[in-house]
């Protein structure tokens, strides 16, 4: 479905419904690529200038909650460019990335899709997610969190120009992060 240039920043109810549908469909398709291990296709959903960032979260007193997450330029779990994301994908494809061989079984559930701003060429979308993973016989991990994306309109779809991933964990309760969020 192509986007009508005249309607994209409108608050017209029909336009909003269509936009919501397009964004939700984009996220469902993205999740399917990840869960089907089609990482080379998945990484092409990101713009060349993308920034993919998962900060460290710290248990803080309520009055210091502004310092809960680390910022770009500080330590993070993921601080990725398109180039390094491509590298991560290439790594899995080598056949020698043992953390993913045997491959993890994953399921991405993306919900609560909220478009918080629409600037025409780009829009901001917030989602909640569950990433469920099992490995080997009995390893089980559930990551729950939110993503704050900037989606750039591109052809008849979007490119992810920015992704901030906030996990509901401080001490990460898994032995690694060999999967994508």
């Amino acid at each position: 479905m192509s986007i009508d240039e005249n309607l994209q920043v409108s608050n017209d109810p029909f336009t909003r419904v269509v936009r919501q549908h397009q964004v939700e469909r984009f996220y469902s398709d993205e999740a399917a690529l990840l869960d089907e291990h089609r990482f080379a296709e998945w990484v092409q959903l990101f713009s060349d200038d993308t920034h993919y960032f998962m900060p460290i979260r710290r248990t803080r007193l309520r009055r210091e909650l502004a310092k809960e997450f680390t910022q770009p330029g500080e330590i993070a779990f993921f601080d990725e460019t398109k180039q390094s994301l491509l590298g991560r994908v290439a790594k899995i494809a080598t056949g020698t990335a043992w953390a993913e061989d045997p491959p993890s079984r994953t399921r991405h559930l993306v919900t609560n899709v909220r478009i918080t701003q629409d600037r025409g060429d780009e829009l901001d979308a917030e989602t909640n997610f569950i990433l469920y993973r099992t490995r080997l016989k009995s390893e089980e991990t559930t990551w729950i969190g939110s993503r704050r994306d900037t989606l750039r309109r591109h052809e008849d779809s979007f490119l992810i120009a920015k992704r901030l991933i906030l996990l509901e964990q401080t001490v990460l309760l898994s032995q690694n992060l060999s999967n994508f969020f």
Partner: protein
């Protein structure tokens, strides 16, 4: 809890290079480690740059005790046990931050940042002023010392002074970081959990045999520059093949058959450094700045051999210093089969924004749970730990036999260098760690421990 010394000694054979696998999952051994090692040793807590201002605190573990490392009014640092004198509740539930005082949320007992009890609800009406506030402050660690910005604590009042405990090996290891000038810990301590015994994680830091296989995918994709192929294709890998029968393609690696590409330092109390020389390792594709090694300070603080090492350091028991991207990894034992990994990253305060970014990006992309390298480590250690529970599998000895009895130890007793070995890839660092570990478990006093962990002439 005690286990007879004779029985303990059977767990590790320095002569045969074998250890008993049960030590990686036996709950009795774990309890003994908690008292005899983590209850006595100096342990790294944090860096003073993490708590610059009065009332700044960082919570760090000493075994199963939680310690609030707190900047004091006079600029000093105290280590306070995070447990209320009344019912034992934690008086602080944040990992880090700044406070004016600590108030227990159970009954409101309030302590100042020095740990002094300054407020008790109903002191007059309910306790009739019979409660001695001066005796009921937060308990302090037995000793706390700062060495070149690195804060250490111990629960043992008998422990020798920190610099003495560290010895030449420990001091050299810290110099790999501190030698670059005044440091700052970058905000954000990566913390994650691996279902493994902490000693597998420690063993691995000395292991320069595993990267070429465990981390092959990172090197194959060029995500991390392969260290130069110093094998000269001399190391035969025939017979090493994937499950589909294909021979592995290795784009160079750190494994060498040449004597002298690796340096190992082993020392009293179980400290060790093992890894390549700077000449063999290079600068990791231009990412590592070695220029500090030629400064007068580095020459004054390190011996000619340790100045050439870019090996991995273990301050016994679990403080891993990796000089490549200025990091410290603590392996925090939470149970026989559960270990938390805490990563600290340091940058020189004088670093340019570009140098700072190189170090931070190098750190994030090498180690930590999403690191191109460390992603692959956890499952190895978890599976190794799990197999030690099998009735038959546990009886198979763990092998540490590479270059066994070929490590000639040079004792440079007058100089700055710790006892060292020039060699090829080996398992001396691991073996020394386990040999010393047994001596700690016997519970002997510090003098005897030092004597029994003084390196021999050959390992």
């Amino acid at each position: 809890m005690t286990i007879a010394t004779g029985k303990l000694r059977q767990l590790v054979s320095l002569e045969r290079g074998e250890i008993d696998r049960s030590i990686f999952s036996d709950p009795e051994i774990f309890e003994l480690e908690m008292t005899q090692i983590f209850g006595r040793s100096w342990l790294f807590l944090c860096h003073e740059s993490q708590i610059p201002k009065k009332g700044d605190f960082f919570e760090a573990p000493i075994g199963r005790d939680n310690v609030l490392v707190v900047r004091q009014r006079d600029g000093g640092i105290k280590g306070l046990l995070n447990t209320c004198a009344h019912r034992g509740n934690a008086v602080c539930r944040a990992e880090e931050g700044n406070v004016k005082n600590f108030m227990c949320t159970y009954h409101g007992w309030t302590y100042d940042i020095a740990g002094k009890l300054i407020g008790v609800p109903g002191l007059d009406e309910l306790y009739h002023n019979d409660l001695d506030l001066s005796r009921n402050g937060l308990r302090e660690v037995a000793q706390l010392e700062v060495y070149k910005g690195f804060v250490f604590g111990t629960l043992d009042p008998q422990a020798p002074p920190l610099a003495d405990f560290l010895g030449r090996t420990g001091r050299a290891g810290l110099e790999f970081l501190a030698g670059q000038g005044e440091l700052e810990a970058v905000p954000g301590i990566q913390k994650f959990v691996i279902p493994c015994n902490w000693k597998f994680a420690v063993d691995n830091l000395f292991d320069w045999y595993h990267p070429q296989i465990t981390h092959l995918s990172a090197f194959q994709t060029g995500l991390l520059p392969s260290p130069p192929d110093i094998t000269g294709s001399k190391m035969k890998i025939s017979g090493v093949a994937a499950p589909d029968g294909s021979e592995l393609q290795m784009p160079g690696g750190v494994v060498s058959g040449d004597a002298g590409d690796q340096l190992v330092f082993i020392d009293a109390f179980g400290h060790a450094i093992a890894g390549p020389t700077v000449e063999a390792f290079g600068d990791f594709g231009g990412l590592i700045d070695h220029s500090w090694r030629d400064t007068p300070e580095a020459r004054a603080n390190l011996g000619p051999m340790s100045r050439r090492s870019i090996g991995h350091v273990n301050l016994f028991p679990t403080c891993w210093i990796t000089p490549a991207f200025n990091q410290i990894s603590m392996r925090v034992p939470r149970g026989p089969m559960e270990t938390e990994i805490w990563w600290f990253t340091f940058v020189p305060k004088a670093a340019t924004p570009e140098q700072r970014a190189t170090i931070i990006q190098g750190a994030i992309h090498s180690f930590g749970p999403a690191g191109f390298l460390e992603q692959e480590d956890g499952e190895n250690w978890a599976q190794s730990t799990m197999q030690t529970r099998g009735t038959a599998s546990a009886k198979i000895p763990q092998l540490l036999q590479m270059n066994l009895r070929r490590g000639k130890i040079v004792h440079d007793s007058d100089g700055l260098d710790p006892p060292y070995i020039e060699c090829s890839i080996n398992e001396h660092g691991q073996l020394w760690t386990f040999a010393s570990w047994v001596e700690w478990l016997t519970g002997c006093d510090w003098d005897e421990l030092r004597e029994r962990t003084t390196p021999p002439d050959v390992i």
